[in-house]
């Protein structure tokens, strides 16, 4: 249990990313395999086109005849006559400029003119369209002999047939369309699933979070009550003393009426008794007042907290236990201390816990308990120092862990300091410990100084203390 505040919205994005990221390798693998298959298959499928072009043009008697044959065999194709690395003539659909360049390149790759020993069509080349998109053209070049008997060395006579794949393979557009639709559906499914999954995760987390908060609220409340309960026993005893004195004085007054004392002496004695009753009554009042201040439910909203007053109250209420244990209680408060910005109830609860722990630590030995307050920069530091046995580094490192306790079984829950730590953090403060074995332990609570008016946080802004222990003010007598 950390008692810290984490938004579970970020978990939603995390969950969505997990789904998308886990799908990414699969998608990449599928893409690679598909493109390899398409390339290999597309290349193989276009090879017969080259052979066909060759077969059609080779028997031609002249360039014009060859072009004529090609145009008949390949309707819709662009047929180019390339000579001396120039496009001499083009038929069919108007050839775009890049096609000319590609045709010339292809012809150049044929490797020189035909020699006399060669027959027509012996040199031919195919440029398959990769990737095999419907619009891209497959191109085949064939060297042709022209039977005009002219100079054979007039090299580079070739016919180039360029045909878009969609005309070669009429089913191709359909196949591509299906591919696009299927992959689109897959992507949409993936996105949808990531949304559904992250929504599920978010819902789970938020219900978990709600349960955790409810539990935490109950724990903080239980701790508050138990620290008050420990005090209550001491306070009842503390009140008993003045009460018995007052009862005694009342009896004394009764006795006086039965005594036949002279009026002046009687008046003096009555006045003394009245004064004593008054003093003792005030003592009771002080105790009940500080107890009332402490048990007040409200004040969990952040505001200006007079730390010295809280120290004073906690000190008053702990006075009895200190006396019982023969522990000297010292309070060294800084009179110029500015108010802290925190929830008063939280500060009280933390200090009560710390003082209670310190007194537990000094059980069975005399010592000094020192409550000190001072300002350090933008922080107000409250230290609770005891002269108890101290603790080892191992214990110190675990002291704020929930359920970690050094008290005997049945005495401590091990939650007190964990709750204090959480409360300190919730008030943008911190709780630290310093201990030397054999010398004592000092807990330091630091709280932010109340901001001055001009940089006062907006109500409901980010500086608000999360109203976790009490989302709404609780009405009296509400069942626990």
């Amino acid at each position: 249990m950390t008692l810290t505040h984490a938004s579970h919205d970020s978990f939603r994005w995390l969950a969505a990313r997990v789904v998308l990221l886990s799908a990414t390798p699969v998608a990449l693998l599928a893409l690679t395999v598909c493109s390899l298959l398409f390339t290999a298959y597309g290349h193989d499928a276009q090879t017969p086109f080259g052979a066909l072009v060759r077969a059609v043009t080779a028997p031609a008697q002249s360039v014009a005849d060859a072009m004529e044959r090609a145009a008949t065999a390949f309707p819709g194709a662009t047929i180019l006559h390339v000579a001396d690395e120039r496009v001499v003539q083009a038929t069919g659909h108007a050839a775009p400029a890049p096609m000319d360049a590609e045709a010339r390149e292809l012809v150049a790759s044929l490797g020189g003119p035909l020699t006399t020993s060669m027959h027509a069509g012996e040199r031919f080349a195919l440029r398959a369209a990769i990737p095999p998109l419907p619009g891209s053209p497959a191109m085949a070049a064939v060297s042709i002999a022209h039977g005009t008997g002219q100079d054979d060395s007039a090299a580079g006579q070739a016919i180039v047939v360029s045909m878009p794949l969609r005309l070669l393979f009429p089913q191709m557009e359909y196949a591509w369309g299906m591919t696009i639709i299927v992959s689109g559906v897959l992507v949409m499914l993936l996105l949808y699933n990531s949304l559904v999954f992250s929504g599920y995760v978010q819902q789970k987390l938020s219900s978990e979070e709600l349960r955790r908060r409810a539990l935490e609220r109950r724990m903080v409340e239980a701790n508050r009550l138990s620290s008050l309960g420990t005090l209550a026993a001491g306070i009842a005893h503390e009140i008993n003393n003045p009460l018995s004195i007052m009862t005694q004085e009342a009896g004394w007054l009764e006795d006086l009426t039965e005594d036949g004392l002279p009026a002046a002496e009687l008046a003096g004695k009555v006045r003394t008794a009245a004064r004593i009753i008054h003093t003792q009554g005030a003592r009771c009042r002080d105790i009940t007042h500080s107890l009332l201040r402490l048990s007040r439910q409200g004040a969990v909203e952040a505001g200006a907290v007079d730390v010295n007053a809280v120290i004073e109250e906690v000190g008053t209420l702990s006075q009895h236990r200190c006396t019982t244990q023969r522990v000297a209680l010292r309070m060294e408060t800084d009179a110029d201390l500015p108010p802290a910005y925190a929830a008063q109830a939280h500060v009280q609860q933390i200090l009560l816990n710390l003082v209670g722990n310190a007194l537990d630590a000094m059980q069975g030995r005399e010592g000094t308990l020192t409550l000190r307050s001072r300002q350090e920069g933008e922080a107000i530091l409250v230290t609770v120092a005891d002269t108890g046995p101290g603790m080892s580094a191992t214990v110190q490192s675990r002291i704020f862990e929930p359920f970690f306790t050094t008290k005997p079984a049945g005495r401590g829950t091990g939650l007190g300091l964990a709750i204090c730590y959480g409360l300190a953090r919730r008030n943008n403060g911190a709780l630290g410990v310093h201990s030397t074995e054999g010398e004592g332990t000092t807990f330091t609570l630091s709280l932010p100084v109340m901001p001055s008016d001009d940089d006062m946080p907006q109500p409901g802004g980010e500086h608000r203390i999360p109203a976790m222990p009490e989302p709404q003010p609780r009405s009296e007598g509400e069942p626990a």
């Binding site: 008993n240 005694q248 006795d255 003093t279």
Partner: protein, 135 residues
């Protein structure tokens, strides 16, 4: 009955002084000790018959006083009067030899009766001791 030697031990001065005053009116003039050390000194100077003892005191507390008095002078009857009210304290006090255990605020008449009873007990003890010595 008249010469009960009574000792009040309590750190609450107002309480103990008024109580002494009221007891004096009833011819039970007690000695008063405001802390454990003073109580032990008075006890060793003149052994009281009955002792009213508060448990919660700074310095030597009531438990220690009870323990020492009962060890050294078992004939002293100790009535524990305390603001503490737990049953364990009560059992512990009685086990340690206290004559009675009373909670503050005490009813004055009840207190006087208890003091008398304690004194009777003390006298009875003394007579059995004497009888034993004679016998």
């Amino acid at each position: 009955m008249k010469n009960i030697r009574l000792l009040l031990v309590d750190d609450e001065q107002d309480f103990v002084e008024t109580l002494a005053e009221r007891l004096r009116l009833r011819d039970l003039g007690p000695d008063v000790a405001l802390n454990g050390e003073a109580a032990l000194t008075i006890v060793s100077d003149s052994i009281p018959d009955v002792m009213l003892l508060d448990l919660m005191m700074p310095g030597i507390d009531g438990w220690e006083v009870l323990d020492r008095v009962k060890t050294q002078f078992p004939e002293v009857q100790v009535i524990v009067v305390t603001g503490h009210g737990s049953d364990t304290d009560r059992d512990k006090a009685l086990a340690n030899g206290a004559f009675a255990y009373m909670r503050k605020p005490v009813d004055f008449d009840q207190l006087v009766i208890t003091i008398m009873a304690a004194y009777d007990c003390r006298v009875a003890m003394e007579s059995t001791e004497d009888a034993a010595a004679i016998g």
